[in-house]
């Protein structure tokens, strides 16, 4: 199965747990260009949430601005989308590019939103997609490490040793 793309998806209850996992993956030498993160960071009435570019990089204003800006220094790409049925979700890593492709190419899978479509395209079955969307809705964070078998196996071992509540390997 080597050579074939896989993904390891982990669910985290808190930003700190997710941040620790990102750090562990980075320390292990995992290619951070292949790591994505997604999580809600918007609580109506709590604070202003915004996303802007000041010319020297993207700034995020929100409850966990420091966390997201730290993550964005590590992973490639960042975005803030309002996903129907989930709400405002902040993304980092290749997931951003995939979601934009799904939206621009109008290639949404029937019955799935943009994030569901992207998850399905990387080999995640519907039942798991529903569970990941529920996790996002309930303010949990997702880390997605994708790559060839060896890379994903390396990521899985590290993620399983973190405070992730679940780590599943999805084969396309």
């Amino acid at each position: 199965m080597s050579g074939k793309q896989k993904s390891a998806v982990s669910i985290f209850n808190t930003h700190t747990d997710a941040e620790d996992a990102v750090r562990e993956l980075q320390k292990s030498g995992f290619d951070m260009k292949k790591l994505s993160i997604a999580g809600k960071d918007y609580h109506s009435g709590d604070s202003v949430a915004g996303y802007y570019n000041t010319g020297d990089g993207v700034k995020y204003r929100g409850k966990s601005g420091v966390f997201w800006e730290g993550v964005w220094e590590t992973v490639l790409g960042s975005a803030f989308f309002i996903i129907p049925g989930i709400g405002p979700v902040v993304f980092g890593g290749p997931l951003v590019k995939w979601i934009i492709s799904a939206l621009e190419g109008a290639t949404l899978v029937d019955g799935l939103n943009a994030i569901g479509t992207v998850f399905y395209s990387i080999g995640i079955p519907n039942d798991s997609i529903l569970e990941y969307e529920t996790s996002l809705k309930s303010n949990k964070l997702l880390l997605v490490a994708n790559g060839i078998a060896e890379e994903v196996e390396q990521a899985r071992k590290i993620l399983e040793a973190t405070k992730a509540t679940d780590t599943t390997v999805h084969h396309g």
């Binding site: 079955p125 569970e131 996790s135």
Partner: protein
């Protein structure tokens, strides 16, 4: 798998309904889950090739997988087993540590737990009560293969097809229903009995005309189980009334 995983409850439920794990105490299953990890495959994906059969042991949580071998010259496929929720694979390499020349392909979106062989061996050693279910399960698999060998050698395609239906019939419902094979294409059914689609088509049509089965595109049902059993008895020349004890 951790106990706070959102998939934990469903996994426990599936294991408690399985032939292999239903007799185990929840604490033993929990201990097992700590060592197993969750994996998924999309429908039609290759789960394992022969060279990978010596690495990990899998337990299906949802979906089906076929265990088959393909003749590289003719492309003809033979399906040895159809596995469903609660089934474990691949048992043969788990026991003898040698490659099994078969492929495992997901027939639906497939969800399974897996652990390396060494981990599974250690777990079985720590929980010998697992053998109370594992050995009969193993016996059942061996019997299925032995029956298949006899059927291929001794019976015609029609009889093999009817026996396949009987083998997959769930008897404990008010109405009998087909388990695992109810939505298979005629080609897949043919692959399970060493035949070809056109021959299976012909026999299915005959069984349909006789009111024994109901077959529509992608849906197969047993309408008259008694007639099916009688017809098999007639063809085989042996009583299958004690099927529960002999199969």
């Amino acid at each position: 798998m951790k106990s706070d995983s959102p998939f934990y409850e469903n996994t426990i439920k599936a294991l408690k309904q399985s032939e292999l794990f239903s007799g185990l105490k929840e604490a033993v299953i929990q201990d097992m889950l700590l060592m197993f990890r969750r994996q998924t495959w999309l429908r039609k994906s290759i789960v394992m090739q022969p060279e990978e059969t010596v690495k990990e042991f899998f337990v299906i949580i949802s979906g089906r997988a076929k265990v088959s071998r393909i003749n590289p010259d003719t492309g003809k496929e033979f399906i040895l087993f159809l596995l469903g929720p609660g089934d474990g694979f691949d048992i043969i390499p788990l026991l003898n540590g040698k490659e099994h020349n078969v492929s495992f392909v997901a027939m639906d979106d497939l969800e399974a737990l897996s652990a390396p062989f060494t981990t599974v061996h250690d777990w079985i050693e720590r929980h010998p009560e697992f053998n109370r279910a594992f050995l009969p399960y193993l016996g059942k698999q061996i019997r299925l293969i032995s029956n298949l060998a006899f059927d291929l050698a001794l019976h015609d395609t029609g009889t093999r097809l009817m026996k396949l239906f009987l083998q997959h019939t769930v008897h404990d419902n008010p109405y009998p229903s087909l388990k695992l094979i109810n939505d298979l294409s005629n080609e897949k059914l043919a692959s399970m009995i060493g035949s070809v689609r056109v021959v299976v088509n012909r026999f299915l049509q005959k069984l349909k005309e006789e009111g024994i089965i109901d077959a529509h595109r992608g849906s197969l049902e047993i309408r008259d189980l008694q007639a099916l059993v009688q017809k098999i008895e007639l063809h085989v020349g042996l009583s299958t009334r004690n099927k529960k004890n002999t199969n």
